[in-house]
Amino acid sequence: MTVVIGFEGSANKIGIGIVRDGEVLSNPRRTYITPPGQGFLPSETAKHHRGAILTVLREALDEAGLKPADIDCVAFTKGPGMGAPLVTVALVARTVAQLWGKPLVGVNHCIGHIEMGRLITGANNPTVLYVSGGNTQVIAYSERRYRIFGETIDIAVGNCLDRFARVIKISNDPSPGYNIEQMFIGMLYIYYDAAHKMLSSGQCTAEDLCFSLQETVFSMLVEITERAMAHCGSQEVLIVGGVGCNLRLQEMMGVMCEERGARLFATDERFCIDNGAMIAQAGWEMFRVGQTTELSDSWITQRYRTSPHSAVKNVHWPDQEHLPGDGCVCVNNQEGT
């Protein structure tokens, strides 16, 4: 039995989770929410995390019913992400690892999403669409490492949605993207100037703009995923990252999959959104093949790439048996949800 605790705080969520051999024992989280019209800044985010982290750590242990001695390994997000919050969390992880006398494992945040997605959904060898506030990538596993087949070269889709939400002053609680999704009915223009003009002239409502933005941007994501699938000959899609919570995106992806006879895997907000258990899970994978991080190497990095250096080495992705667990949403080619 291997028990791993994972610390995640690369953006505005601080989460600590405990995983034991593929079972999530606890996964508490806090989100730093700013007023409408404002984004979150690194130093304030780090301050928020500092204030919450020890409480969340206590919760993680209590909910799992474990003591520090029961932990085998301490995993933490090495990157990518915002500098100050990453440092805050890494500091605590390093400290407890030394206090408890446990090995450390520095995890790539993106890999954390993917590994948790695979664990929860049981997807075998999927094309992964990783969409969040900070990342928009299409990833597939090939020749023993994760490879980015496509990515945004300007901003991430979640960032795009968040910035738009700020422009039209949508609430950040629980997240801007969630509130965009709640508003709908449609039309087609998205530029900031056009938005203000149209809203003030009553040509369209905020709901119209949200709908249009979603429809257009999500069509792009689905199309790119489909192209990747056609290129790789893949019959499975896994959506991970905060934007993956969006039901309309899941619905659109599901329609595309059905037309191709492919399967869609998606998780719910517990695991789409940044959380500690995903770090623990990726850490578990690394730990059991002997990968640990020396204290001297436990620095954080804001720009940790998904491939090639950060891959979980020698993990035979298609061979592993993962049973779909709680929180799995399998859409299409299946009865029910």
Partner: protein, 239 residues
């Protein structure tokens, strides 16, 4: 082909397609082989995408069809080899084009050359030609949008020598003078090249050299290519 009247309100093209042979279904279009006006033709049908909002779908599909046709015609006018367009049907978003027979994709050509143990230098001539053609295309301000070795055909020449190169699949193409867009075009090719054909960095370098030598506008494009290469790595990845 016998004269066809639309039956039951179905467009004649749809009926025609029923008799054609489906050779490929890509992510965006179905590709058929058939006979059109006595010639062997490829028919590319952009079908409806149900996951998209209908208004968006109609607009995108029509635009892509038009863009593809325009780009091919523009290339041909400039003397770049691309399939001849026979007919375009905007009601079904179908393009009827010339079938390029007796050809292999550059992808297949490189793969078999490597498999048979040929040195990379043997392919330098090919790299030079590709670089030249792409330079010409970009000088016409045509951005291909999907440059991969699967989208360049090598027609068998006389006596087994290499014949001409034909560019195909302009489905994502558009007209642009911006070095940024051309730089991204080359970036896509670089990524596709290096991920499909391992250990061919020298070959691609040769291609870029030929490209640079063949166009006055090339330096600006290469500069943008360098910038774009760094962008993926230096982008802040938060959340």
């Amino acid at each position: 082909m016998a004269h066809m009247e639309p039956v039951n309100n179905k467009p004649a093209v749809s009926q025609f397609l029923q008799q054609a042979v489906l050779i490929k279904q890509g992510a965006e279009a179905r590709v058929y082989r058939g006979r059109f006006l006595g010639k062997s033709a490829i028919i590319k049908e952009r079908f409806q995408k149900l996951y998209r909002h209908p208004a968006l779908d109609e607009k995108l599909t029509r635009r892509r069809t038009a863009q593809e046709v325009r780009s091919i015609l523009r290339c041909r006018k400039a003397g770049i080899d691309a399939p001849v367009i026979y007919f375009v049907d905007y009601t079904t978003n179908c393009i009827f084009l010339e079938e390029i027979i007796d050809s292999v994709t550059v992808r297949e050509h490189i793969a078999s050359a490597q498999a048979s143990g040929q040195s990379v230098e043997a392919l330098y001539g090919l790299a030079d030609t590709i670089g030249k053609i792409l330079a010409k295309m970009h000088d016409e301000d045509v951005v291909h949008g999907d440059l991969t070795t699967s989208n360049i055909l090598l027609v068998k020449g006389k006596e087994g020598r290499d014949g001409k190169l034909v560019l195909i699949d302009f489905g994502l193409s558009y007209i642009s003078a911006l070095p940024e867009d051309k730089g991204v075009d080359m970036y896509v090719l670089e990524k596709a090249f290096l991920s499909t054909h391992p250990n061919t960095e020298a070959l691609f370098e040769r291609l870029l050299k030929s490209y640079t030598a063949s166009s006055k506008k090339a330096p600006a494009v290469i500069k943008k290519l360098d910038e774009v290469r760094l962008r993926g790595r230096k982008r802040s990845m938060v959340g």
